[in-house]
Amino acid sequence: MKRLTSIQDLDALRQQILEKRKHIRKRIRVCNGTGCHSQGSQKLVDAFEKVLSEKGLTREYMVVPTGCNGFCAAGPIVVIEPEEVFYQKVKADRVLEIVERSVLGGEVIEDLLYVDPTTGNRIVHEYEIPFFAKQQRIVFKDTGSNFTRDIEDYISRGGYSALAKALSSMTPEQVIEEVKISGLRGRGGGGFPTGVKWESCRRAHGDIKYVMCNADEGDPGAYMDRSLLEGNPHQVLEGMIIGGYAIGAREGYIYVRFEYPMAVENAIWAIQQAKEYGLLGENILGTDFSLDIHVNRGAGAFICGESTALMASLEGKIGEPRGKHIHTVEKGLWNRPSNLNNVETWANVPLIINNGGAWYASIGTERSKGTKIFSLVGKINNTGLVEVAMGTPLRTIIEDIGGGIPGGRKFKAVQTGGPSGGCVPERLIDLPVDFERLKEAGSMMGSGGMIVMDEATCMVDVARYFLNFLVEESCGKCIPCRVGVKRMHELVVDMCEGRGTPEHLTKLEELCHAIEETALCGLGKSAPNPVLSTLRYFRDEYEAHVYDKKCSAKICKPLIQYIIDMDKCTGCGACRRRCPENAIIGVNKECHVIDEELCVRCGICIETCKFKAIYIE
């Protein structure tokens, strides 16, 4: 490939690619995102390639390993284009049949189709599935259909045209203006206006400036940044290059946690490709603008997602934050002006430049513009990644797109914003989701994790969970966080283990307010949120733990007991043989009982019993 040295070159290349692909009759998309990958989708890719090459069909039919399709609950997913026939839960032994019957024969294989749980109907096409119908996919549009490791696929979809437009017809100031008009706010959690940040960085003094991408994604339960970077790395990169042009940066960094190896690989690889094509490096597209970007792995500490800690860790120091009275846009990495944005924020930029800030601002609510990708996980039927316009009601996300709660259970709450956020209870299900409304409800947007909880979730246990997480992840630099959060954790553990007193509740609330006010960085300041929000909406559960020593969700071990139902037990002995503690007593064909003293409440007996004879009280 020769380097592109002008804007015209890029257009010509796009035409060439389209020409080259004319003879492709069908594309077989195989989702190779993290979810499907963990269910064996690489085997599918290999099998399709093998079958096609054996049959001598590789010229006309193309296997495309893509990033996350979004509908992870249905994985591994295979979609046949152009018809968009959607096959779910595909195993490698079906590949030959799919090629023969469906790809070549044009038939639809009924038993691989998605079944709508409400109507029982089988659905043939991707776009007809309710999960997709109510989404508004703009940022995440191509992630599940783009050939992850092929820059030409991205270019053929119009990729890098935003960069070409910015370089050929806009000054840096105009680019910034457009981003300001769009109303884009950072998707990393805080929601700071992106254009304003860029402008301060452009104005900051210094010859060397950095553009940086925060792909640390420390929020447990969120994986949209990972999927974007894995599935469409060029879109993120294009956003960064445009940002680099706007603020006047010459160097950039993508900071990815090492736990995301595929994201690391794809980012490195995209950078290499972009360099070969002259879209990155010296004199980009033949202009005066030059930018170099590196990938650095983080070592998986939550605090390293915080901007000052991230930069410290890049400098080879421990990831401790510092006070933010001096902004990183003025003194960041190596004390130079540094502009850090989240992965999803960067991925929005090419859209804004291509379609204009006003177009972008027409989507969303008054103060939250555009769309947001949520990772919808936990106790929900359609787990996956969901992109909706800001302001979409929670009910649409959970009921229409998410398909409700499995097992006929009731929806209880949704946790948003990770360890800095909180729980939104069932009665607020009509809440429109945007930065402001979530905050009013005592939660946060955060990076967009939505962990759905049903009746079988104990809210005190959820608070305990987040406090434990924060105790482990606190960097320990300041006392309110290091000691205070630990003390909060102890109080809640006492409650979960039946030692709680009314005084525990008072102390817990006092601590929440003290830590909020005095902690040094965002981790400590927001650490009380999971507690405050659960106290606000589920106080009765705390009180039941403290006064009655009861856990209504039957989660807190010391407050529950495993019991065998005498009417249902057939005395088959399966539970007795599996119980790791030998806590089950009984002889064959006679009713068994559990020795409460020995039982460690591991739940193995319930999983084992075929007659549903074991229950928790």
């Binding site: 609950a73 650095n296 070592a299 080879g316 990772s375 962990i451 591991c602 999983e607």
Partner: protein, 156 residues
């Protein structure tokens, strides 16, 4: 020892002996030896001209780094929020019972190390367990038991 230092040097050369490479070098060395041998840290300190205490503080700060040898098989139970609400604590209980290990500990024969991680980004298939880099989805306590059995059989 010669070999070890040569390996460490190769990693350093790949990233360049500068402070911003520190974390990258340590991640690679930690991955290669499954822990950070003392000699490797001394070598890094020397070549990057960074005080050894800074290197040790970084090694202590991040959970991924180990200063003692770890097992041939790494079992990581995800304890992220999605995995937690779907039953991850029961999986850890199971390993605790079967092997007598707490998270962070290694079996005496260096066969297996148990660790917890906060979300590996496969939340849709929660709860997940990662065994030597390979993600297993929708694990139950019983499936966990068979996984451990398999690992034990392999390393015996």
């Amino acid at each position: 020892m010669e070999q070890l230092l040569q390996d460490v040097d190769a990693v350093i050369d790949q990233w360049g002996a500068k402070p911003e490479s520190l974390l990258q070098i340590m991640l690679d060395v930690n991955h290669k030896f499954n822990y950070l041998p003392k000699e490797s840290l001394l070598r890094i300190s020397e070549r990057l001209r960074m005080p050894i205490n800074q290197i040790y503080s970084v090694a202590n700060f991040f959970k991924v780094f180990s200063l003692t040898p770890r097992g041939r098989t790494m079992v990581q139970v995800c304890t992220g929020t999605a995995c937690h609400v779907k039953g991850a604590p029961k999986l850890i209980d199971r390993v605790r019972q079967d092997l007598g290990l707490e998270p962070g500990q290694t079996t005496e024969d260096l066969a297996l190390t148990l660790e917890t991680v906060n979300c590996v980004g496969a939340c849709a298939s929660a709860p997940v367990v990662v065994v030597n880099g390979e993600t297993h989805s929708e694990i139950t306590p019983n499936k966990m038991a068979s996984l451990i059995k398999e690992i034990k059989a392999k390393s015996a």
